[in-house]
Structure formats: C-alpha cells, structure tokens
C-alpha cells in the first residue's frame, strides 16, 4: 500500500497544524510525512514545521510571481506519484479548496474539504465537517484511496517539538499555465488578526453611516477588543476591510467575548461566531435572530446604548 502522507498549505501556520493529523495517519499506515514547501527566493522559516519526516522544497519558477493552484496541483501530483504517497492533506483555504478539486481529478482521489476532524481506520478516511452554514456537523466516509483532504484552519494544534526533518530539493519544469496572474497584492487588511482576538466588537447594518464607526471603535477600545463586521459592511459598503468580515464566507472567530452591535444574525453570520464563549448583542429589533443565539442581549437603539455602555466600562478602568 502507498502509505506516505503529503502535506501542503501556502499558509505556513496552517501547514504546521496539518502536521498533527498527518503524523497520526502516518503512524497508523507506517508511512512518512512529506511536507511540500514552495519558495520564491529562499526557503524561510521551516523550523516551525514540526512533525514532518521530510521537507521537499520546490523553487517557484522565475516567470511565475505566485504559486497558483494550477501550478501547485502539478507540483503536488508529481511529488505524490514519485514518493509512493496515499494521502494529501491540504489547508482548506480558498487556494487550498481549488487545489483539492484539481488534485481529486488528477490523482483520481476521494476528496473532502473543510474537515475539522479526520480519522484513518481500516483503509477508510472518516471525516467531520460543518455543513448548512455551520449549523450542522456532518460525518462522512471516503471509502477508497488515494485521499485528498482539506483541513479547516485551527482544527488542530501544531506539534510543539520533535526531530528536525531532512530537506530535499525538488525541481520542476514550469508547466504551461492557462490562467495568468497579472497582479498580486496584499488584500486591504485591518491592523489585527480577528481569528486570534480575545474580545471582538462587531457591527452590522444597524449602523447608519461610516462616520458612526467611531462609536464602535470607542467601545472596542474601552473593552480592549478588536473590531469586526457582518458581510454588508465590508463587502457591499466597504466601510471596513474584507478581513474584518465575520461569517460563513468570511472568517470564523472564537473569542471569549463576541459583542454584536446592530447585527441581525443571519445564518451565514452565525456560522462565523458559533465558537465564541460569550455572545452579547445590541439590536433594536426584538425579533432579530441574534437574540435567539446570544447569551446576553439588549433591545434598543445602539446609538444610545453603546455610549452608555462605553461610559460604564471606562468608569471602571
């Protein structure tokens, strides 16, 4: 049986998390964990990649500015075939999901994305993933290998320490690509990573104009919280950067406090906040779904409640 496990994610932090399930699978198959790193000029920090037996480093051809999923799928497939692998674990990012679809066809593999748990038993892969807007936990079986499995960020803890992997260089002929990247830039970003925030104040369509964000920022500052939003505020109105968008199609957060201000709480938004420890809401509509899904809620005008609450918090400090 082909028992080696290939691991790849363009996101190095996620890549290190993937090594935890990869290690578990390799232990049960008696295979090796092979981590693929695609680098541009020189290999950067791979010491975080604890749990890999081998790192296969691939230099991005000069004519490519970024490793596109089309390019990466060719690289992963090549290494997969030449190394006797039976598994590919990928990060379930947007690039990672395109990659998973491509590899499922190229390797004629059974595939699943957005998995939060994977077990390998009796030559079958048992996976858990959230469906229906994050409301339902589904379990499924991939009956036959090879397996291509995308793991959702923060589903596993990275391995803290272990033996240093060996490093091998892999060279690839630049394939003819059908999609060209003309420009690649950082998406406009907020100053903090909301997925790591302890407290989040998030705002939605209840806010009437962009200038009123000041109210929210003042409250967040008093609480020591980061600021996020529901989809309309970032994607439609552009009042906050896209990485502040919390929900099914945005980021998923798990803070100790999630304070939703003027957010009605549509299913897609709730999918992004369900792992929060305490959910608090301020909304003028008593019938808003957020009140069915919060721990503490205040019914009323955010323009009056938010300043009052800010004042109380500041007075304590």
């Amino acid at each position: 049986m082909k028992n080696n496990v290939i691991v790849y994610s363009e996101d190095i932090e996620l890549a290190s998390e993937l090594l935890t399930p990869a290690r578990e699978i390799a232990t049960s198959t008696g295979g090796k964990v092979i981590m693929i790193v695609i680098y541009k000029v020189e290999m950067n920090d791979y010491t975080r990649l604890v749990g890999a037996d081998v790192i296969v480093s691939v230099r991005l051809p000069d004519e490519l500015g970024v490793p596109t999923p089309e390019f990466t799928s060719a690289v992963v497939a090549d290494i997969f075939k030449s190394r006797g692998a039976g598994f590919v674990l990928l990060g379930s990012t947007r690039d990672g999901k395109e990659l998973a679809g491509r590899l499922a066809v190229i390797l004629d593999a059974s595939a699943a994305t957005d998995c939060i748990n994977i077990q390998f038993k009796e030559n079958r892969a048992l996976v858990e993933r959230l469906v229906y807007g994050g409301r339902v936990l589904s379990s499924g079986i991939l009956e036959a290998g090879p397996f291509v499995i995308g793991i959702k960020p923060r589903s596993y803890q990275a391995i803290a320490s272990g033996p240093e992997p060996s490093i091998e260089e892999f060279s690839i002929q630049s394939p003819v690509l059908k999609t060209r990247v003309l420009r690649s830039g950082e998406a406009e970003r907020g100053s903090v990573d909301l997925t790591k925030a302890d407290k989040i104040v998030a705002v939605g369509r209840g806010l009437k104009k962009k200038e009123d964000l000041e109210l929210i920022h003042t409250l967040a500052e008093a609480l020591g919280a980061a600021v996020g939003c529901s989809r309309p505020l970032s994607s439609d109105l552009g009042w906050l950067p896209e990485d502040a968008h919390i929900g099914l199609t945005g980021i998923q957060v798990k803070p100790k406090l999630y304070l939703a201000v003027g957010i009605s709480g549509q299913l897609q938004h709730l999918a992004g906040i369900k792992d929060s420890k305490v959910i608090m809401a301020i909304n003028s509509d008593k019938g808003a779904p957020i009140f069915q899904n919060c721990d503490y809620g205040a019914v009323g005008d955010l323009y009056q409640i938010v300043p009052e609450l800010t004042k109380l918090i500041k007075a304590k400090r």
């Binding site: 690039d95 950082e186 205040a298």
Partner: protein, 256 residues
Amino acid sequence: MPLDMIVLVKHIYDEDQLKVDQTTGSVSLQGVPGKVSSFDRNALEAALRLRQKLGGTITTLTVGTDEANKSIREALAMGADNAYLIRSNVATGYDARQTVEILIGALSKIPRWDVLICAEGSTDFYTSLLPGMLAERLNLPLLSYMRSLDFDGRSLRGDRSLERKLETVECSLPAIVSVVSEICEPRIPTLLQIMAATKKQISKIDVTELGLQIPPRYKLEGMLVKTVTRKRQIFEGSPSEVALKLYESLSKEGII
C-alpha cells in the same frame, strides 16, 4: 463580442427548515422544502450583467430531481434565456465528482458556450470542490473566487479574492469561473418576470440518458445539529438600564 454563458444552479434543502430530532440532535432532510443555493443567484447576476454589457445568452444548468424546477423558474425569472435540468431521482444528491461527471455529460449536449459561471460553493455542503474539478476534467482555464469579471473581446479578466491577497487574473475562452458573493447583489424579479418565466421551456435530460457509471467517493454518514445552548438573557428598558445590565453581565462573566 457577445458571450454565451452557462450558469450552474443548485436546488438545495432550506437550511432554515431542517428537521431536527430533539432528543438525538440528528437531522432529517425528508420533507424539508427546497430553495436555490443562495450564492448561485450572485453567479447568475454576474452573468446577467455581462450579457447586458456584451450581449449573448445565459443557459442555466441544474442537476436534481423535479423539485429543482422551483429554483430553475427563479433563475428564468431573473433573466436566464434557457434552462436545462439533468433529472435524477436521487434526492440526497451526488458527491462533487459525480456531479462533475454528470455536468460534463450534459455540457456535451449544449451546442456552444464560452464561459461557465458558478458560485464558489453551495450553501448546503459547501465543499467548493466543483470548480477545480471541472477545470481539470475539461482541461480549461479557471478563474476562481472572482469578485469582479470583465471581457475585453479577447481575455476574461477580473479580481480574485483570497483570504489575504487580491489578485488580478486573466485567461482566454472557453473558461470556468467561480464567483464570491461580493461580486454583485442579485436582483429580485418582478411579478411580471415571474409570470413570464412560467412560459419558458425547461429542457430535461434524464441522468440515465448520459450512460454514466460513477461510484460515489464520499458517503454521508450522519448529520447532527451542534447545539450550543446560549443563555438568551434579553434585557429591555431604557438605554441606561440595558447598558447597565450588559455591563453587569460582562463583569459576571469575568470579561471586565
């Protein structure tokens, strides 16, 4: 240059009406009403805007049971010209690879097309596997996660929205495109358009006519509702009263 476009439309179980067994938490789909996968409306809207600008046609393509007619009618009311239903009696649907093979079988029956547009994922199972699978199977370029899309007569181009990056990408035709919901707000059809759509023809192909033998690769075992019971303490009163209640709750939870 006009574009002949195909838009994928999926009919799914309405996530707001799932039936949950109160003791076990297990989810049953039996008898749950269906609706269109909501991001598909954004994909269709993107196609409608391209057609408005460049001319051409829009054909929707759906794999599903006769129940899916409801979603197809909605797409026709929004403005699609033609619709195909690849009819099956598999109510639970197919896995991504099976769907891709069925779609490819159906595409061979559609005379010509330039661009196939779909949503980044469906709002039921949201695997997002389909665009990459289609591109590899058809050996066509893919522009994925697009939040804008334009065609200059030679190249299809637009912005690709990733978690931390924004890319401008282009390719030639024919091509596959997946869009994120931010690309545009879908229109709501008028009553007149809804009425007119009932007169449009839906072409039906039975899935068995495609003569495919594709075993499932992913088997759904079970679905459970994750219940996080929230305290649901709702405060009403004057702004200063409710603010104080929230403040006390924050304090009680040890947050401030």
